[in-house]
Amino acid sequence: MARVLLADDSETILLLVRTRLEMEGHEVQTAADGQEVVDAVRGGAPPDILLLDAMMPRKSGIEALRELRAEGIECPVLIVSAHTGAGDANGEHAGLGIDGYVDKPIDFDALFAKITELTA
């Protein structure tokens, strides 16, 4: 099972996703914004996969990812977004190595399948 670093600024959503992921047997570490993501990755062993909310206060998931990629962290990344179907509409995410987008509300079966595929 995978070690997942999960970031979202909503506590209820963090708890929800964490619960579902742990029920699937994943090991979950959480972060409330982009800065916590960067700190968590720097502080310990890099996770198997990053699950980042695109819009967070202080530092967005995209900004955090940009910093991590600059430091040579290469783990797979899924971006969770409330902007359905937004994806990378403006091409701003080019070169960040994003492996997929997850719309809110989250389709957990599809999310689990993606995590399994990316961490296999």
Binding site: I13, L16, A82, T84, P105, I106
Partner: protein, 424 residues
């Protein structure tokens, strides 16, 4: 900005011709008016002189006849012919001289009057045409400006000039155009704010909805620990939250469509696979209402240029409508066949049908079946409007037909992908 204009009117108003500038035309007009007045004055003086001379001539002639008659009378009464006859001859010569004089004076006066009249008439004609041309140019500009404005070019303005009246008209036109432009700008801004609002609202609503749906699903994972009543309650929460998500997605699509930001990523796609996929998605809902869902796809359909997700969305929308508006046990057929340069996909049901007055507006947003039905069905009233936008983005068309009591049929035309030419 495209400007609408008919070719005939275009020809009539923009034929190249010599034109005076309005200010020059104005000055010429004043000049001609003065010349006209002076020459007309001359003609009047000439006529007066002529009448005066004529009177003098007639008086002198009359006096001469009187003298001649007196002389002849004296001759008849026995006066000396040697002195009287020369008197008579002298009077006759005097009248000759007077006639010659008046003839030449009449000719001079006639020339003067004639010249005056001709010059005056010419002046009048020039004055008139000067007036016309000083009005024509600004009026033509106004006609052209109006046409550009009607064609949607709100930045159009006309040159203000010519007579005071045409200048005022031009200024009023420009004021009107400026006002139209200002209002169009305000309307655009309001539209943008509305689109922005819908996008933001949809985004903000999505987060709590994620929690509602996610936690309800979490409860359902422990379904066996819930009482049947509780399980049913959670089902209602889940159904409602899914409905809300659908509503949000539809609103978002519509806002994007309005903002011109609804985009598709078409690629050559096998229509059969796409249709089967959509039908498979809907199979369970049809079974739940014991409705028959049949599928007939003509073999060897050409590839279509399609955004898979979006066309699946259209087909699922049509099937959802059939599923929800038809009675339990109804039959719905999906048929796909090759058209001339497209693929036609029909969704045909034997449901209650759609009244003609509703059918007319069926692709308009928030157009839905009658109130009783919509209470039961609970759609968003946006699905067909979005489907139409999506199909049209693909360069296709969507049509509906229906017979009350017999059923409804929706046909989607999607253009075939251009054939790849193999280069040897």
């Amino acid at each position: 900005v495209p400007v609408a204009s008919s070719p005939i009117a275009e020809q009539a108003y923009s034929r190249p011709r010599f034109r005076l500038s309005p200010s020059l035309a104005n000055r010429l007009t004043i000049g001609f008016a003065i010349a006209f007045a002076v020459l007309t004055g001359l003609a009047v003086i000439g006529v007066a002189r002529f009448l005066d001379q004529r009177q003098e001539f007639e008086d002198a002639t009359a006096r001469s006849y009187q003298l001649e008659i007196e002389a002849r009378n004296r001759l008849a009464r026995g006066a000396d012919p040697a002195t009287t006859r020369p008197e008579i001859l002298a009077e006759q010569r005097r009248r000759h001289a007077l006639r010659d004089e008046i003839t030449s004076e009449t000719r001079d006066t006639a020339l003067l009057v004639g010249a005056g009249l001709i010059a005056g008439l010419t002046g009048a004609a020039l004055l008139f045409s000067g007036l016309i041309s000083s009005m024509r140019r600004p009026l033509e500009n106004l006609v052209e400006g109006s046409r550009r404005l009607a064609g949607g070019d709100l930045e159009t303005r006309v040159e203000v000039g010519g007579l005071q009246e045409t200048a005022a008209l031009g200024a009023a036109f420009n004021e009107m155009a400026a006002e139209l432009q200002r209002r169009a700008g305000e309307r655009d801004q309001l539209d943008r704010m509305k689109d922005e609002f819908v996008l933001t609202a949809s985004h903000e609503l999505r987060s709590p909805l994620t929690s509602v749906q996610g936690y309800a699903e979490l409860l359902m994972l422990d379904r066996e620990k819930l009482s049947p009543k509780q399980a049913e309650t959670v089902e209602v929460i889940l159904d409602s939250s899914r409905h809300l998500v659908r509503l949000l997605n539809d609103l978002l699509d519509l806002a994007r469509s309005d903002a011109g930001r609804l985009t598709i990523r078409p690629e050559p796609t096998d229509p059969a696979g796409l249709i089967e996929d959509a039908v498979r998605t809907m199979r369970a809902q049809f079974e739940a209402r014991r409705q028959r869902l049949s599928l007939e796809i003509e073999p060897g359909l050409p590839a279509i240029e399609a955004d898979r997700d979006r066309i699946r969305q259209v087909l699922v929308n049509l099937l959802t409508n059939a599923n929800e508006y038809c009675q339990d046990g109804a039959s719905v057929a999906v048929e796909a066949r090759r058209g001339e340069a497209d693929v036609q996909i029909d969704v045909i049901d034997d449901g209650p049908g759609i009244p003609a007055e509703q059918l007319e507006h069926i692709f308009e947003r928030f157009s839905r079946g009658d109130a009783g039905e919509t209470q039961r069905v609970g759609g968003t009233g946006l699905g067909l409007a979005i489907s139409k936008s999506l199909v049209e983005l693909h360069g296709g068309a969507i049509k509906a037909s229906s017979t009350l009591g017999r059923g409804s049929s929706f046909r989607v035309h999607l253009p075939a992908a251009p054939q790849r030419v193999e280069v040897a």
